[in-house]
C-alpha cells in the first residue's frame, strides 16, 4: 500500500462526508436558517461578538483545535496496525466528530453564543454544570502533565531543538511589545521570527556547542548525580522544573505580552508543517510498512483504540472552542457547516498525516514490529517515531534528514507548549469559577489558582513510577487523558440529543455516537483499572473518579430521556 494512496483514500471519504452527510445534517437535522440572526449580529460589540467571514473563521477554528494531540494519538495507535487507526480516524471524523463539533456550534449560536457548560446548566441543571467543570478540570490537569512530560523527553532526545524553542520566547515578547501592543502588523515580524528559529535549528543541528544537552553536561548517561538519580532522570527533572516555572509565568502574564505573539508564530508552523508533509509525501511516495492489522497479547485494540485516538477522531475539547469563541463570530447560521464540520475534517487530515508518517517510517515490517514491541513502548516512543517519520517525508523536498528532525521536534514542542499554557490558563479560570461556586474566596486569586493548577500537574507527572524511575510513567496518563476527553465528547453529544428531542427531530445522528463513546469509555476504564493500573494507586484513584463521572452522566441521561417533558429552551427559536 503506498502512502499517497492511503492519504487519497482517507481524504476522499472525508470529502464525501463533508459533501453529503454534513449537508443532510444541515438541512434536515439542524435545519440551518440563512435568515436567522446570529449572536454575532445580535450582540455585535466589536470584541467577542463580531460577524466574521466563514473562510477566516474556519481557519481560525482549525488552528485553535489542531495541536500535538491529533499527532500523538494516531502515532501510538498504529501499534495495532494501520487499518484500525485509519478506519477510526476516518469514520470517527465523519460520523462522530463532525456531528459533535457542528452541533456544539449550532446549539451555542441558537442560545446567544453561550458556552457548552452554561448550556448544560440550562438543559440539565446545576449538577451538570459542576460535573462539567470538574471533568474539564481533570482533563486539563492531565493535558498539562502529559505535554510537560512529552516536551521534557523531546528535549532530552533532540537537544538540537532546545535553543530554537527557547529563542522563541524573547522573539515573541519583542513582537508583543513592539508590534502587537502598538497595533502594527505582525505578519512580517512573526515570519522573520520563524526564520530566525529555523535558522537556529539548522545551526544547532551541525554545531554541538549550540545543543543544550543536559545529559552530557551532567556527565553522560551512566553518571549518577545526586539522591541516587542518574543523569537522564536528573535532566528530566530539571527540564520539568524549568517548564513548569515557565508555564506559571506565561499563564499569569497579560496575553499580549507572550502568548499571543507566540500563537501567531506557531500558527505559521501549522501551515509550514502541513505543506511540507503533503508535498514531501507526493515527491517521496513511500510504502506503508506498518502491518495492516496485528494481533497482540498485551493490550487489546478493543476498547483502547477508541480512547488512544481522541483528537483526530472525536474530541470533547473541540466543543469548548466551538461554543466559547467560534459561535460568537458566525456571520450566518449556514456557515456553521463549514466551520464546525469542516474544522473536524481538518483535524482528521492531521491525524491521517500522523498515521502515514509513522506507517511509512520503517524500511520493513520487521523493523516496525521491533520498534513497537509493546503498548507501553508505543506510548513512550510514538511521538518520537512521528518526528522521525515526518523528517523522512521532508527529505522528499531535499531537506537533509538531520535538519528536518530538529525542525519537526521544534514544531511538535511548540504545539505541546502552546497546549500547556492555554491549558494552565483555562484551569485557572475553572478553579476560580469553582471557588466562586463554593464560596472559597482564596481560590479566586490569580496566583493561588495558578499554583494549584501547576502544582497538581507537576505532581501528576512525577508520581507514576516505572522501571525507568522518576517520571518514566508519564505516558501512562495518555489513555486517561483520552478517556476524559471522550467522556466530555459523550456529554456534548448527549446535550445535542436532548436538544434535538425537544425540537422533535431525529436525534439518532448524535445519540448513536454518544452511546458508542460512553460504552467504549466505561469499558476501557474498567479494563484499565482492573489490569494495567492495578497497584498504582494514583492511577486507580484518578481512573475511578473518571468512572464515577461517566456513570453519573449515564444516569443523568437516562433520567432525562425517560422524563423528557419537552420543555423548549425559553429563547430557543
Amino acid at each position: 500500500m503506498s502512502g499517497i494512496l492511503l492519504a487519497i483514500l482517507g481524504m476522499i471519504v472525508l470529502a464525501f462526508g463533508y459533501r453529503f452527510y454534513s449537508k443532510y445534517i444541515a438541512r434536515h437535522i439542524y435545519r440551518l436558517d440563512p435568515n436567522f440572526q446570529t449572536p454575532a449580529h445580535q450582540y455585535n460589540d466589536g470584541v467577542d461578538f463580531v460577524p466574521t467571514r466563514k473562510s477566516v473563521l474556519w481557519a481560525h477554528h482549525f488552528t485553535s483545535i489542531a495541536g500535538a494531540a491529533p499527532i500523538m494519538g494516531p502515532a501510538i495507535a498504529v501499534y495495532w496496525g494501520w487499518l484500525p487507526a485509519f478506519l477510526w480516524v476516518i469514520l470517527g471524523t465523519v460520523f462522530a466528530a463532525g456531528v459533535h463539533d457542528f452541533g456544539a456550534l449550532v446549539i451555542s449560536a441558537r442560545n446567544k453564543g453561550r458556552s457548552i457548560g452554561t448550556l448544560a446548566n440550562r438543559l440539565i441543571g446545576r449538577r451538570a454544570k459542576l460535573l462539567f467543570l470538574f471533568i474539564i478540570l481533570l482533563l486539563l490537569v492531565m493535558v498539562v502533565a502529559v505535554f510537560g512530560w512529552v516536551i521534557a523527553n523531546l528535549f532530552i532526545t533532540y537537544p538540537a531543538s532546545v535553543l530554537s524553542v527557547l529563542i522563541q520566547i524573547p522573539l515573541a515578547v519583542i513582537i508583543g511589545v513592539y508590534f502587537l501592543r502598538r497595533g502594527k502588523g505582525m505578519l512580517l515580524p512573526s515570519i522573520i521570527a520563524l526564520v530566525v528559529m529555523y535558522g537556529t535549528a539548522v545551526l544547532s543541528t551541525y554545531i554541538p556547542a549550540l545543543q543544550i544537552d543536559l545529559v552530557q553536561y551532567l556527565g553522560g548517561e551512566d553518571a549518577t548525580i545526586a539522591f541516587g538519580l542518574d543523569a537522564v532522570t536528573m535532566s528530566f527533572l530539571i527540564w520539568l522544573l524549568i517548564l513548569f516555572a515557565y508555564v506559571y509565568v506565561a499563564s499569569t502574564l497579560p496575553v499580549w505580552k507572550l502568548l499571543q505573539p507566540r500563537d501567531y508564530i506557531n500558527a505559521h508552523q501549522t501551515f509550514v508543517g502541513l505543506t511540507i508533509f503533503l508535498i514531501g509525501l507526493l515527491f517521496l511516495n513511500p510504502e506503508v510498512t506498518a502491518p495492516t492489522t496485528r494481533s497482540v497479547d498485551d493490550v487489546s485494540w478493543l476498547p483502547l483504540l477508541f480512547i488512544t485516538i481522541a483528537c483526530g477522531a472525536v474530541s470533547g475539547f473541540h466543543s469548548l472552542v466551538a461554543s466559547g469563541t467560534s459561535s460568537k463570530q458566525l456571520n450566518k447560521e449556514t456557515d456553521a457547516r463549514l466551520v464546525g464540520y469542516g474544522g473536524a475534517v481538518g483535524e482528521g487530515v492531521v491525524a491521517l498525516i500522523s498515521i502515514i508518517a509513522v506507517g511509512t517510517l520503517f524500511a520493513t515490517t520487521d523493523d516496525f514490529l521491533a520498534a513497537y514491541p509493546s503498548f507501553n513502548v508505543a506510548n513512550e516512543e510514538g511521538l518520537g517515531n512521528f518526528i522521525e517519520g515526518a523528517a523522512q517525508l521532508a527529505t522528499g523536498l531535499f531537506v537533509p534528514e538531520a535538519i528536518a528532525q530538529t525542525i519537526a521536534a521544534v514544531i511538535v514542542v511548540s504545539f505541546a507548549a502552546t497546549t500547556m499554557d492555554t491549558g494552565t490558563r483555562l484551569m485557572r479560570y475553572i478553579i476560580s469559577e469553582l471557588g466562586r461556586e463554593y464560596k472559597a474566596v482564596t481560590l479566586t486569586k490569580k496566583h493561588v489558582a495558578t499554583s494549584i493548577a501547576v502544582g497538581a500537574s507537576f505532581i501528576l507527572v512525577l508520581l507514576p513510577e516505572e522501571e525507568r524511575g522518576l517520571g518514566g510513567g508519564g505516558y501512562i496518563l495518555w489513555p486517561l487523558f483520552g478517556t476524559t476527553n471522550q467522556l466530555l465528547a459523550g456529554i456534548v453529544l448527549m446535550l445535542i440529543s436532548i436538544w434535538l428531542i425537544r425540537q422533535g427531530r431525529n436525534f439518532l445522528i448524535s445519540f448513536i455516537p454518544m452511546v458508542f463513546l460512553i460504552v467504549m469509555t466505561v469499558f476501557a476504564l474498567i479494563t484499565q483499572i482492573s489490569t494495567e493500573w492495578w497497584g498504582d494507586w494514583l492511577l486507580v484513584v484518578l481512573g475511578s473518579i473518571v468512572l464515577v463521572f461517566a456513570m453519573w452522566i449515564i444516569l443523568e441521561a437516562y433520567v432525562l430521556f425517560k422524563n423528557e417533558r419537552g420543555e423548549k429552551l425559553e429563547d430557543d427559536q
Binding site: 460589540d45 467577542d48 473562510s55 481557519a59 481560525h60 497595533g183 496575553v255 499580549w256
Partner: protein
Amino acid sequence: MGLKDQLSRALAFYDEVLRLPHRAEIKRELRDENDIFYLLSFSEMLGLPNPVSYYTLELYPEMIEDFHDWHLRMGMEKSPLDGIRCC
C-alpha cells in the same frame, strides 16, 4: 487578476485569520481600561467619594455616546443618571 494581486490577497487573508483572536483580546483590554475610567467618573452614583467628580462634568458631552454602550454592558437597561438622558 495578476499573480501579485492574488499573492497579496492570500497574504491579507492569512493575516486576517491570525489576527482574529488577538484583535478581540486587545480590544477587550482597552475596553476594560475604559470601564475603570468610567467607574471612576461615575463613582458618586455608587456612593464612592470621588475627589475629581466636579471635573468629570466637563467630560460628559464627550462621553455621552460611549456612556450609553457602557451602561448597557453593565446590565442597566436605562441610564442610571438623571443628568444623562441617552435613552
